[in-house]
């Protein structure tokens, strides 16, 4: 039997199941936007059911969708890719991630990963027989991945560098200068770069998103992931993609064919509509997240909970260390007592036991309700702390 242990991911699924059993639950855990998919995209899917239900797709995806992706990536990320040989459509960002890791990482290879990070990278790297080398990041620096720390961790087994920006769960965004420096490290040591840009449309305040592949020297060594899931509220449709240089994409395409074959035709047509249709719904959702993020940060300030300022993405990674509780205990208590689901940092890594991850993917009134209930839980915890009995 291949290696298996109770992963952080499994832990989260059991908490989600508990939350689902409460009628009044406020879900601030899962990265699933509360908005339904915009109507014009659903309409396009229905149209495809009538017109294109039996079309067949090659494993790399419909040419029309790959062209729409190429246009999007050039417009938003500033990198040009050939739709015929440099883009593969996937079953969501998740399959894109798995394929990127399998394309680049083999048994014994190491990948440098700023920590904390999206935990599926660890699962995928294990599947490939590789190892993650974690580089710590800290809330005082908004979880910045320091290029100097990354460079110190390169050795002869290092194969790739993982950059998730905006990050899940830390919500950090790699600055243009840091990105340049990180890419330079990859160039100096002939490393590949895995760049996960699934939250690229969500950056806050004056922060800008920088695509790794757009940096000098990066294109030939970078695989980039994106997906429609978060930006278009299309998590259920499973449409994502990988862009990269043809030699790498050739291998990735072979893996896609071997692992799942083509991507569902109806989802692909919906994807074409998403990328080529009106973009106002995306802007509307992004604007809403700005307001909600502000509301959550304000409530956390009121509760005296510290966090790295979320520069991008859809998460807040907050420090509950002062409670003396382990994040699992804390999250479980808030869930059972107050029916509010937040994710324990320990699900992301052992080293993050004092953190919780919160999302703002709920309507604002519901968010406020959840935060109020969290406040009640916090007051209880503080009172117990006062008399020395918090657990």
């Amino acid at each position: 039997m291949p290696e298996r242990k109770k992963s952080g991911t499994n832990l989260l699924y059991s908490m989600m199941a508990e939350a689902a059993s409460y009628d009044d639950a406020v879900i601030m855990g899962r990265g699933d936007p509360d908005f339904d998919t915009p109507e014009h995209i659903i309409a396009a899917a229905k149209e495809a059911m009538v017109q294109n239900h039996s079309d067949s797709s090659p494993p790399e995806g419909l040419p029309e969708l790959r062209e729409a992706i190429a246009a999007r990536v050039e417009r938003v990320n500033g990198v040009a890719y050939d739709p015929a040989s440099e883009i593969v459509v996937t079953n969501g960002g998740q399959e894109a991630l798995f394929l990127m890791v399998l394309t680049l990482i083999g048994p014994g290879d190491e990948m440098i990963v700023p920590e904390p990070n999206y935990n599926t990278y660890l699962d995928s790297t294990r599947f490939a027989g590789g190892r993650q080398i974690e580089v710590d990041t800290f809330p005082q620096q908004n979880f910045r991945a320091d290029p100097a720390d990354v460079r110190r961790n390169v050795n002869e087994r290092t194969k790739a560098l993982l950059l998730v920006s905006p990050n899940n769960p830390a919500a950090s965004v790699i600055s243009p200068q840091d990105m340049r420096d990180l890419v330079q490290i990859a160039c100096d040591h002939d490393l590949f770069i895995i760049s996960d840009e699934i939250y690229d449309l969500f950056v806050y305040d004056d922060v800008v998103h920088t695509s790794a592949a757009a940096m000098p020297g990066a294109r030939e060594r970078t695989l980039t992931l994106n997906a429609l899931s978060k930006a278009y509220s299309m998590t259920g449709w499973r449409v994502g993609w990988v862009t990269g240089p043809a030699p790498l994409m050739e291998r990735l395409r072979e893996l896609k064919a071997a692992i799942t074959g083509a991507t569902s035709i109806i989802s692909q047509y919906a994807g074409i509509a998403a990328l080529t249709g009106p973009q106002e719904p995306v802007q509307m959702m992004a604007d809403t997240y700005v307001r909600r993020r502000r509301a959550v940060l304000q409530a956390l300030d009121e509760m005296g909970i510290e966090y790295g300022v979320p520069e991008g993405g859809q998460f807040i990674f907050a420090d509950i260390g002062f409670t003396g509780m382990d994040s699992m205990q804390f999250a479980q208590r808030v869930l059972t007592e107050q029916h509010v689901l937040v994710y324990p940092g320990s699900a992301f890594s052992e080293a993050r036991k004092q953190y919780i991850r919160m999302t703002f993917l709920q309507p604002e009134d519901k968010l406020r309700e959840g935060l109020e209930r969290m406040k009640i839980a916090m007051e209880g915890i503080r009172a117990e702390l006062g008399n020395g009995s918090a657990s």
């Binding site: 259920g236 692992i259 799942t260 991507t263």
Partner: protein, 365 residues
């Protein structure tokens, strides 16, 4: 997968560029596709309505990793009726189609310390799925007519230490099935050797009458309610004993999170319509296949008896096959080449009206 440096990879790619150019230009031709193992028929409006209604109702979000409950239950019920075993929703996982079913079962089901036993003749996707993270394999000899594994080959493999067996019944190439006695013998062998089997029964809906399968120690895989015109929506299934499911489900989460909602709701409605719609569909296909088989035989072609109504396999001499493939390609037909399955003397056509003209071209070759 070997692990190249950037430079080595670039070099390898350049060597492949010519090859790629050839493949792309072949794909660009508007070929008449007779390469699939079942024709994609018209889509029932009720499937469009039900899927559209699910999307309108907000089923556009992540669904549970193993699939929506109703579809798991419908598949379990269908498999229980078809095989006589007691499958339950908790045994089922919905996949993004047949290839994901192959990958997840071949990679995640315990093969113990032994090799995975594979019949010599198999859908090429099986070896591809195994190749992503290679496991040791042993080859099982097949019989000449059905191209299904011989019992004594299975016995020898199990005695030699194999603990996991992969089989197709019906065969993806010939459509032939293992009968109830053979399956019973295989079930006994599995029990005697504490071994397991993965059985692809994706073409079983195209066989009149029951297609036998062991009731224990077995993973069943296939397309979810095929025949309803939703083949390229891609919904498949894996049915396994409950204690086999956790590692498979965990890997499905890692590589997919869940299966696309339109595909799942489409398959669910196809399942609702299945008992009403599949019998006439099957009858039509059987009649078509039998007329194609008669036509082939009348033209002196060696059409295999097969079993599943959706495919027709022909046995050809090397020169006959080479000429036939050339003629088909000239006329923009695509067929499945047995070489890709491990049977170089066979060609397979999709059973459909267009297959008649392809047969005539082959007969003239």
């Amino acid at each position: 997968m070997p692990s190249d440096s950037v430079a080595a990879l670039l070099q390898r790619h350049r060597a492949n560029e010519d090859l790629n150019a050839a493949v792309i230009s072949a794909a660009a031709r508007n070929a008449l596709d007779l390469a699939a193992d079942a024709v994609v028929g018209p889509l029932d409006e009720r499937i469009i309505e039900a899927t559209g209604a699910a999307l309108d109702a907000g089923h556009t979000h992540y669904e549970p990793v193993p699939g929506i409950d109703e579809l798991r239950a419908a598949l379990a019920q269908h498999l229980s009726e078809a095989t006589g075993a007691g499958w339950d929703a908790a045994n089922l996982l919905v996949t993004a189609g047949m290839q994901e079913s192959r990958f997840l079962t071949l990679q995640l089901i315990d093969a113990g310390d032994g090799a995975t036993a594979l019949p010599q003749v198999l859908h090429p996707g099986v070896r591809k799925a195994l190749g992503t993270r290679p496991r040791e394999t042993v080859s099982l000899a097949v019989d000449a007519e059905r191209r299904l594994p011989r019992l004594q080959a299975i016995r020898a493999a199990l005695e030699g230490g194999s603990r996991l067996l992969y089989m197709e019944s019906p065969s993806r190439l010939t459509g032939a099935t293992l009968d109830a006695d053979e399956m019973a013998a295989i079930a006994t062998l599995l029990a005697d050797h504490d071994a397991s089997a993965i059985i692809d029964r994706g073409l079983a809906p195209w066989v009149a009458g029951a297609v036998a399968a062991p009731t224990e120690r077995v993973a069943l895989i296939g397309e979810a309610f095929p025949g309803a015109g939703i083949a390229s929506w891609l919904a498949g299934y894996i049915a396994v004993p409950e204690d086999w499911l956790p590692p498979i489900q965990s890997q499905k989460q890692i590589m997919a999170i869940c299966t696309a909602t339109p595909a799942q709701f489409g398959a669910l409605e196809a399942g609702n319509l299945y008992t009403e719609e599949q019998p006439p569909r099957l009858e039509h296909m059987q009649a078509l296949r039998s007329s194609l088989q008669d036509r082939a035989r009348a033209a002196g072609l060696d059409a295999l008896a097969g079993g599943a109504a959706s495919v027709l396999a022909l046995r050809l001499s090397a020169s006959q096959k080479a000429q036939g493939l050339t003629r088909l390609a000239e006329a923009s037909y695509q067929v499945a080449d047995g070489s890709d399955f491990g049977a170089p003397d066979l060609l397979r056509l999709t059973v459909c009206d267009a297959a008649q003209a392809a047969l005539d071209l082959l007969a003239d070759a």
